[in-house]
Each structure stands twice: as structure tokens, then as C-alpha cells.
Amino acid sequence: MNIEFSKEKLDKVHELISHYPQGKQKSAILPILHLAQQEFGGWLDVNTMDYVASLLNIQPIEVYEVATFYSMYNLKPVGKYIFEVCQTGPCMLNGSDDIIRYIQQKLGIGIGETTKDGLFTLKVVECLGACGYAPMMQFGKTYREHLTKEKVDSIIDECIAKAAMNN
């Protein structure tokens, strides 16, 4: 894959950098890594991180340090759809363990694994700030809350239908 932002995304990069004082462009690293992950296949490989370093005029190691610290950056390939199910206290009290087990059975994968067709990845995560709407998961940009087995089924169906449409 060619690792280079489009003109439109490059403008976004420059706008992000402009939010910080002159010479403090490194501050834009988190938002730019989010953008890079979104643009270049859902994860950050070394080439992508090096590219981000060049955009910010910093050393590649400064990007690796950051990318490995924050849990939202994927450092290996992931499926097209990622289920990130919360397993912390309040979600556990409301049955998140059952939901995680159900997704594992339904997709035939373990935690941290991706289905063979490359469609789904299952991750377990710690508190996402949705404790009153438990059990829940992060699904792309938003949350899916008050999960039940039926809701999980319909989310999976929704993904399969969407993937079929895009092919």
C-alpha cells in the first residue's frame, strides 16, 4: 500500500498542527496517528509510523513510543469490524462475561483474534465510560449499549450485509 495522505487529509494534518504553538508540532501526534490508522488499513505498521514521523519532523522512535503506549492504536492487522467489549466492574455486574463468551462462540474466535474471512476482530477493553448503559462495546466511532445476545446477532448481521454490499 502506498503510504501517503491525500491532499485533503494533508490539509487536515496541517490544520491539526496549527492548533499548537510554533515548534510544538509533535503535539499533533495522537490525532495524526488516529487519522493514519483510519486511512491505512485500520492499523499502524512501521512504514505508516515512519511516514507520520516525517510529517511531524520528529524521529521515528518518538512515534513508536507513543503508538505502543495507547491502547487505541492497533499494531497488527485487524478485521474490518472490531468489537471492543468492556469487561470492567460495572459492565461485569450486568453480564459482560456472557456477552464476551457469546461473541466468541458465535464468531468462532478467541479474544484478540480475527475471523478467517478478515471480517471481525474481538477485543476486550477496560472501562469506556458507559457504565450506566452496560453491557456495551465500542463499535467504530460509536458505542453499542445495553447489549443482549439478540443485539449482538443483529450487529453481526448488519456487518455481514454491509460487507456484502461493498464487495
Binding site: H19, P21, K24, K26, S27, A28, I29, L30, P31, L33, H34, L56, E62, E65, V66, F69, Y70, S71, M72, Y73, Q87, T88, G89, P90, M92, L93, N94, V125, E126, C127, L128, G129, A130, C131, G132, Y133, A134, Q138, K141, T142, Y143
Partner: protein, 451 residues
């Protein structure tokens, strides 16, 4: 019914838009503040008695007055919207439902502190809320409340969003500043405090979302009026996000004059516990504060009714009390297992430790392992004392309070629920099939409990 200062207009349709918000009296505090001297605003905030709503409860006016003001050096206001304390989802609610309230509070606070460029550091997972806030900022800008020379006052004010990427530790203010500088979120040694050397070495104030929104009613009505709401040193209103085993989980604004019992059982708030079950335990202020059994939650060790405010929740110290913390209110019913619940919290802190200090980096992992052992029927009696020993060695021995936050839930679980731990160890088969249950945790306390 509690007085509402932040959420009184939250139910109004379209309140997330500038037009409706403005029509309902929004941004009046900016117009008023720009006619005041910045220091007079700080004085009003001091008078209000407002305490930081992120968890530590430090007086906001005092924090503001510590801000260094060297000539020719920029000062910064940073809003901490990295809400990640388990049980806490109040800031999310505020930003989602009434985003302009935060922008309004930011402008007034920025003016008071002399911050021409301010940032909202929002947790990465709140991706869609970033869009909501971005829209609110654009609208405020179009209407002259942000940008150069706002409302002709001569004050320039910009607000930028900075999205995190998944790290609880960045809610700690110095880790947040490191992250804002584009680094790993490793807390700094204090002093120097951010008020002297904050982001990019410049004087900085970091305030929680709810704290900043509370500035709006303080300026509109005056600090004196605000200070008369609530009780004692718990002035104003507090948002409580309640969750766990209750009928009506959600975000409630209280004026800190109601009892814990009323908060749990009244239909106005949590609406009681589902399926007629009994209350076993509760963590009243976010995962980091001590868990209390039902009897000590509803009444203090002195036998007084426990109230939903800073003083009453901490009455008895850690021996028999807890803390208001962030207002993340987690309720456990009679069928819940305190060992299992605390296991999830130890896993959380292990996962979120930044790894900088060895007591926390190693200790949190050890605690998770031992909890897992006990929960899975492989515990030994000496494990309980080992857990106690580990948490003691973490507490107070780390750069930032994450170590304490990891130690306290473990200490409190052992302090109040030791027999539940022992039952797991003595019944290794049975504990895999059923929970310990309510036991004596809701029984009336016969006599004063002392440490």
C-alpha cells in the same frame, strides 16, 4: 427535589444547538464576565466554594489563584475530558447533551486565567462526542464568542479539541499534559506543579469538565448564591453517574442534601434495586474509592444517616467511610461477588498502570494474579495477607495517585469483606458454582465500629 444548575435545561429539545441554547439564556455568563476584571472572577469562584469535580475535590478558586503569571509567557487552560474512572460517565453526558455549557464555561475560565488558547483533552473513545463539541465550537465562533477580540472585549479566545487514544492514566493532570505534548502519558514528579510549569513549560490550569461547567452558574448568580446551595463544604450541585444493580442507571444532579438511602431507593434517582433484591455493597465515588457494605453505606459508624456529600461520604475515614470521588456510584446487589468485582478492578489498574514506578507496575499485576487465584478456587489463606501487604507497599510509594487508586479498592474489600474471601478459600469447589450472597453485610451495626 434537588436544585439543578447544570442539567436544568438538558431536557429541552435542540439544546445542543447554539440557537436553542442561546435562546434559553446561554452565554450570558460570558457577556457578564467580560465586563469584570479577571481577578474578580477568580474571587467569585473562591467564594462559591466549588471543589474540583474530577475526583480529588480540591478548591477550584484556590487552584486558579496559584497560576503563575510571568511577563510575556503564555498561560493555558486545559479541560480534562479524559473521563475513564470506572463507574463515571457524567462528563460524557454533559458534553453529549449540552455541549455549549462546557464551551461557555471554558470561555469564562479562559478569560479569568488569561488563556488565549485553551484545549479540551477528550478521551479517544468518545469519538462521536468530539464531533458534537467541534460543532459547538464552530457555532460559538460564528456568533462572536470565540476568535479574535470576542464581543469587542479585546480578549482573543480559541478552544481546540485534543483527542486521546486510550489511556486511563492521562486523566492524571501531569500525564495529560505529557500526552498533550505528544508523548507517552507518564505522570510528572510534582513540584513543579502545572500552575507553574504545565504544558510546554508554561503555567497551566487543568480542570474537569463538570468543574468548568459549574463556572457558568457561579458567574451568572454570584459565588455567594452558589455557596449557599448544598451543605457545609459541599457547595453547589454534583453530578452522580449511577450504575450497577439499580433500576434507573443514569446521570443525576443532586444538591448534596439528600441521603444515600434516598438516592438509591427514591424513584427520582436510582429507583431501587431490580427484582426486589437487597443491597449488598456500593462504591460511591468511582472504582478508586473504598467499597462499603450496605450497613456502613447507609449509616455512618456513629449511627448517623449517611448523606450524599463530600463530608458525610468520607465520615469515618477509610476505616468505616469512603469518598465522593468522581461521583461514579456503583451498586452491588445481594447476588454479586465482591471478590469477582474487585478482581475486575485489579485487572483494570494493572492494564492502566503506566509502568513508571515499580510498586504500581509490579504490584497491580501481582494483585490481579492473586485475585484471579482466589476467585478460581485456588486461593490459600496466606493470600489474603499477601494482598494486604502488596497494597500497603503500593500506597503512597508512587509518583502519581494511580498507585493509591489501585491499592484502596483492594484494602477496602479485605477490610469489610474478609469473610467472603475466606469463604472462597475454604470452599474452593462451591465458590465456582455460587456466590457468597448477602451474608451479614446489611445487618444493623450493633455498636460503633472503630478502626
Amino acid at each position: 427535589m434537588s436544585k439543578k444548575l447544570l442539567l436544568d435545561k438538558a431536557h429541552i429539545e435542540g439544546i445542543h444547538t447554539y440557537d436553542v441554547y442561546r435562546r434559553e439564556g446561554g452565554y450570558k455568563s460570558v457577556e457578564k464576565a467580560l465586563k469584570m476584571k479577571p481577578n474578580d472572577i477568580v474571587e467569585e469562584v473562591k467564594k462559591s466554594g466549588l471543589r474540583g469535580r474530577g475526583g480529588a475535590g480540591f478548591p477550584t478558586g484556590m487552584k486558579w489563584s496559584f497560576l503563575a503569571k510571568p511577563e510575556g509567557v503564555a498561560r493555558y487552560l486545559v479541560c480534562n475530558a479524559d473521563e475513564s474512572e470506572p463507574g463515571t460517565f457524567k462528563d460524557r453526558y454533559l458534553m453529549e447533551v449540552i455541549p455549549h455549557l462546557l464551551i461557555e464555561g471554558m470561555i469564562v475560565s479562559a478569560y479569568a486565567l488569561g488563556s488565549k488558547v485553551s484545549y479540551i483533552y477528550i478521551r479517544g473513545e468518545y469519538d462521536w462526542i468530539t464531533d458534537i463539541l467541534e460543532k459547538a465550537i464552530d457555532e460559538a465562533k460564528q456568533n462572536g464568542f470565540l476568535g479574535q477580540n470576542i464581543l469587542g472585549s479585546g480578549f482573543d479566545c480559541e478552544i481546540y479539541l485534543h483527542r486521546g487514544a486510550g489511556a486511563y492514566i492521562c486523566g492524571e493532570e501531569t500525564a495529560l499534559l505529557e500526552s498533550l505534548e505528544g508523548k507517552r502519558g507518564l505522570p510528572r514528579i510534582k513540584p513543579p506543579f502545572p500552575a507553574v510549569r504545565g504544558v510546554w513549560g508554561c503555567p497551566t490550569v487543568v480542570n474537569n469538565v463538570e468543574t468548568i461547567t459549574a463556572i457558568v452558574p457561579i458567574i451568572n448568580d454570584g459565588g455567594d448564591v452558589y455557596s449557599k446551595i448544598g451543605s457545609g463544604k459541599s457547595t453547589g450541585t454534583k453530578l452522580i453517574s449511577s450504575c450497577g444493580n439499580i433500576n434507573k442507571p443514569g446521570v443525576y444532579e443532586i444538591d448534596m442534601t439528600i441521603s444515600v438511602e434516598e438516592f438509591i431507593y427514591s424513584d427520582e434517582y436510582c429507583g431501587g434495586i431490580p427484582n426486589g433484591k437487597r443491597l449488598k455493597a456500593c462504591i460511591p465515588g468511582g472504582a478508586s474509592v473504598p467499597i462499603l457494605p450496605a450497613n456502613l453505606l447507609l449509616k455512618t459508624a456513629k449511627g448517623e444517616t449517611r448523606m450524599m456529600n463530600y463530608e458525610s461520604l468520607s465520615d469515618g475515614g477509610f476505616a468505616t467511610g469512603s469518598m465522593m470521588g468522581s461521583g461514579g456510584f456503583i451498586v452491588l446487589d445481594e447476588d454479586q461477588c465482591v471478590v469477582r468485582h474487585t478482581l475486575t478492578l485489579t485487572r483494570f489498574y494493572h492494564h492502566e498502570s503506566c509502568g513508571q514506578c515499580s510498586p504500581c507496575r509490579e504490584g497491580t499485576g501481582w494483585m490481579e494474579k492473586i485475585f484471579s487465584k482466589i476467585e478460581n478456587g485456588k486461593g490459600e489463606m496466606k493470600d489474603i495477607d499477601l494482598l494486604w501487604d502488596i497494597q500497603r507497599k503500593i500506597e503512597g510509594n508512587t509518583i502519581c495517585p494511580l498507585g493509591d487508586a489501585a491499592a484502596w479498592p483492594v484494602a477496602a474489600a479485605i477490610r469489610h469483606f474478609r469473610d467472603e474471601f475466606e469463604w472462597h478459600i475454604l470452599n474452593p469447589q462451591e465458590c465456582l458454582k455460587r456466590n457468597y450472597g448477602l451474608a451479614h453485610y446489611a445487618d444493623p451495626l450493633e455498636k460503633s465500629v472503630t478502626a
